[in-house]
């Protein structure tokens, strides 16, 4: 049977692997992963900013790759490893070097876009541990910061790169 069962509210039961844990949620087919994270799982770090994949405030990592959770239909997120900003710090609560770098450089203002930037920074440095400033700018160009913290964000990213490379 290729059609997924729905309950009387028209909702599917989905099993999502979020931040290392299996979670069962109920959502309609057209609900996005962003909606499920926020409404079902109370993970508020991913945020809606544009609804069209442009701003990056909704960024999560899907199998270590940054995606717009505002565009990903929730059922399509099954079977993948989802990492949200809440899952970046160690289980003991120790901040990741990237998070610490953002704090140390005050690389934010209103901070609405910050989780998206941090996760994208993680993906950048995961793919290119020796990313040059040009490569970093190119990779992060799809994350928008209306407050305009770009200069300090780049400082934090380069500092995080150096820290992770053992500097």
């Amino acid at each position: 049977m290729i059609e997924r069962a729905v309950d009387e509210d028209g909702k599917l039961t989905l099993t999502l692997h979020v931040n290392g844990r299996s979670r069962r949620v109920k959502a309609r087919a057209h609900h996005t992963l962003l909606q499920v994270l926020r409404d079902n799982l109370q993970l508020f770090g991913a945020r809606e900013g544009c609804g069209v994949g442009m701003c990056g405030s909704c960024t999560v990592l899907l199998d270590e790759k940054p995606v717009s959770s505002c565009l990903l239909l929730a059922p399509l997120a099954e079977g993948k490893d989802i990492l949200t900003i809440e899952g970046l710090a160690s289980p003991g609560g120790e901040l990741h070097a990237i998070q610490q770098a953002y704090i140390d450089h005050t690389a934010f203002q209103c901070s609405y876009c910050t989780p998206g930037f941090i996760l994208t920074t993680w993906a950048l440095l995961h793919e290119k541990p020796r990313a040059t400033p040009e490569e970093a700018r190119e990779y992060l160009s799809g994350n928008l910061c209306r407050c305009g913290s770009y200069v300090k964000i780049m400082e934090a990213v380069m500092d995080a790169r150096d820290r992770l490379a053992g500097g």
Partner: protein
């Protein structure tokens, strides 16, 4: 209520789409479709997920062509060693699309089926004479890209068909391809115009044996004029020849107006960017740093 279907084979997928007719939508990367859904612009009764279909997720080299599965993401093409080796300009074109998040989700099949005019890959497909492989209730068929894309958001696909693969012939050795994407607003803007140019030099390594130029985002569908391309054959690609080609394209393309530029401006940009793309392709072919 929207049903969610997860076929495990192409036949199952086609049968599901056929069953629902116009009331079902296939979904792969789900970028453009989600926007339409959330704005209520489409109200399907069923979503048919293509994510589980086998043999559509890789890039293979077969008979001097790349056969790209419809589920391959933009990012996968951008970073594929095979594509980078065989068709680097195609990888570059995919690399220019939107942002890294969209590229991690959006698929080749998706960009083909959407037929969005303000898009980059279709321009490359046209220049490279790509062929779209489609599966439907009546079986499979191969559609040259020029016949596949018909107009604004309009393709040759029926509502029961899906794209399964894209076949891109690899041009002869020594062909240099480039993609120029021109944006008029932010760096993240969609193209005002995109030009894919490919140059193959003759045995003298100076005159042009083959020129291909496709212009996208300037009109409803990407445009290519083989009669203008052949004007370059046998000639050195100097300023005059290049200008003739560029002006030819500018005169022939009925440009459109949108927020990225007026029709007048786009015509001027056809002139400028066909010239720049051909110059760069020529320089790459000649081994000169552009």
């Amino acid at each position: 209520m929207i049903a969610f279907l997860q076929p495990r084979s192409i036949d199952e997928a086609v049968a599901a789409l056929d069953h629902y007719g116009e009331d079902a939508r296939p979904v792969a990367g789900s970028t453009a479709l989600t926007i339409l859904l959330r704005q209520g612009l489409v109200q399907p009764k069923a979503l048919v997920s293509l994510a589980g279909l086998p043999d559509m997720s890789s890039v293979q080299q077969e008979n001097a062509a790349l056969r790209i599965g419809a589920l391959v993401t933009h990012r996968a093409i951008e970073t594929s060693p095979l594509v980078r080796e065989a068709l680097p300009a195609l990888a570059d074109t995919f690399a220019r699309v939107a942002n890294v998040r969209v590229r991690n989700a959006a698929t080749v099949g998706g960009v083909l089926a959407e037929a969005d005019y303000a898009s980059d890959p279709p321009t490359a497909f046209l220049a490279l004479d790509a062929v779209v492989e489609v599966a439907g209730p009546a079986g499979v068929r191969s559609i040259p890209i020029g016949d596949f894309t018909r107009g604004f958001y309009e393709t040759a696909l029926t509502s029961s068909e899906i794209v399964t693969h894209l076949r891109v012939p690899i041009p002869s050795d020594g062909t240099a391809g480039v993609y120029e994407k021109f944006v008029t607003r932010s760096s993240e803007d969609r193209p005002c115009i995109g030009v894919f140019a490919a140059v193959r030099l003759g045995e003298d390594h100076k005159s042009c044996a083959e020129l291909r130029v496709a212009v996208g985002a300037a009109s409803e569908v990407p445009q290519r004029f083989k009669d203008i391309e052949t004007l370059a054959s046998g000639n050195y690609l100097d300023d005059d020849v290049i200008r003739t080609v560029a002006d030819g394209y500018a005169d022939r393309i009925e440009t459109l107006s949108d927020l990225r530029g007026s029709a007048w401006y786009r015509t001027e940009m056809v002139r400028v960017w066909v010239r720049r793309a051909v110059e760069r392709a020529r320089n790459v072919a000649m081994g000169i740093q552009s």
